[in-house]
């Protein structure tokens, strides 16, 4: 009795926060809606007996990725952003494509048949503990993908540094085509006054 109510509450909040996130004008409000969505997603993971993934969802998604988004949003000019339209010109085309995709997916849903069952029933997972079971699988069956995931993180680290770092001596580059002078270019290498 309690579990369907919890599922419907989570589903309602997830869909509502998703719609809010893509339709709110202020990007910071959108990120906060996505934060609420991620917490409810972690609740659904708990319902599905994936405790480790729920913790990872909260720590990595809500704790790290969304904070990264918030930092980047604070770096760009938000005041300018709020005066402009938040959507591209052909907004109804995109919405109808998404609605058509949703109708197609729901239409295909009854023809879904489940495959063969694996060897980890929920009783075995809850007896061993989800973290231990998943860790055993990750370090034996999925050892090579696990190492490749570490390599991907290293590449992302180096790539993020290279992309975001400003090259020494480079002018604050602006294309002359834009022609908007609301943002005067930063004076290059302004000397700090030593006391």
């Amino acid at each position: 009795m309690f579990i369907p109510i919890y599922f419907w509450y989570s589903a309602f909040v997830i869909v509502l926060c998703g719609i809010l996130a893509i339709s709110l004008r202020n990007p910071v409000h959108s990120v906060l809606a996505v934060l609420v969505l991620f917490f409810h997603m972690a609740g659904l993971y708990l319902l599905l007996q994936a405790e480790f993934l729920a913790a990872v969802q909260i720590i990595v998604y809500a704790g790290a990725i969304l904070v990264l988004y918030l930092f980047v949003l604070f770096l760009v000019n938000l005041k300018e952003e709020l005066k402009l339209s938040a959507f591209v010109p052909g907004v109804w085309l995109g919405r109808s494509i998404a609605a058509g995709l949703f109708a197609l997916l729901i239409w295909m849903l009854p023809s879904f048949t489940s495959g063969v069952k694996g060897n980890w029933p929920s009783a075995a997972v809850s007896q061993a503990g989800h973290t231990k079971a998943l860790g055993g699988e990750l370090f034996t069956t999925y050892l090579i993908p696990f190492e490749i995931a570490g390599l991907i993180l290293l590449v992302a680290l180096v790539g993020g540094l290279v992309l975001a770092a400003r090259v020494e001596g480079e002018q604050s580059g602006r294309s002359g085509k834009s022609g908007q002078d609301e943002h005067p270019a930063l004076p290059p290498h302004q000397e700090e006054v030593q006391p």
Binding site: F7, G18, A21, I22, L48, A86, A98, S114, W120, A164
Partner: protein, 100 residues
Amino acid sequence: MIPLHWYIGLASALFCIGVCGFLTRRNLIMMLLSAELMLNAVNLNLVAMSYYLESLRGHAFTFFIITVAAAEAAIGLGIAIALYQHRRSVHTDSFTDLKG
């Protein structure tokens, strides 16, 4: 006991919300955030199927997807910062250099 189809329906709804946001938002950062919503929909699908098919394969996939999502956020936001340094804008319709 909740049927598996409910989870798949919820995941498809969230995925389509992400598609809609990706196609309609002008801000590059919001497009990346919509991609995160789509990745979360796939994660929910994988975890639900893994629970109902009594396997841990979907959980392992979800773990790797979260890893790739973190890398994608770092790289994508780095690109957004680099574009903002060059153009003072993160709007998709101001990047039309390759248009003929």
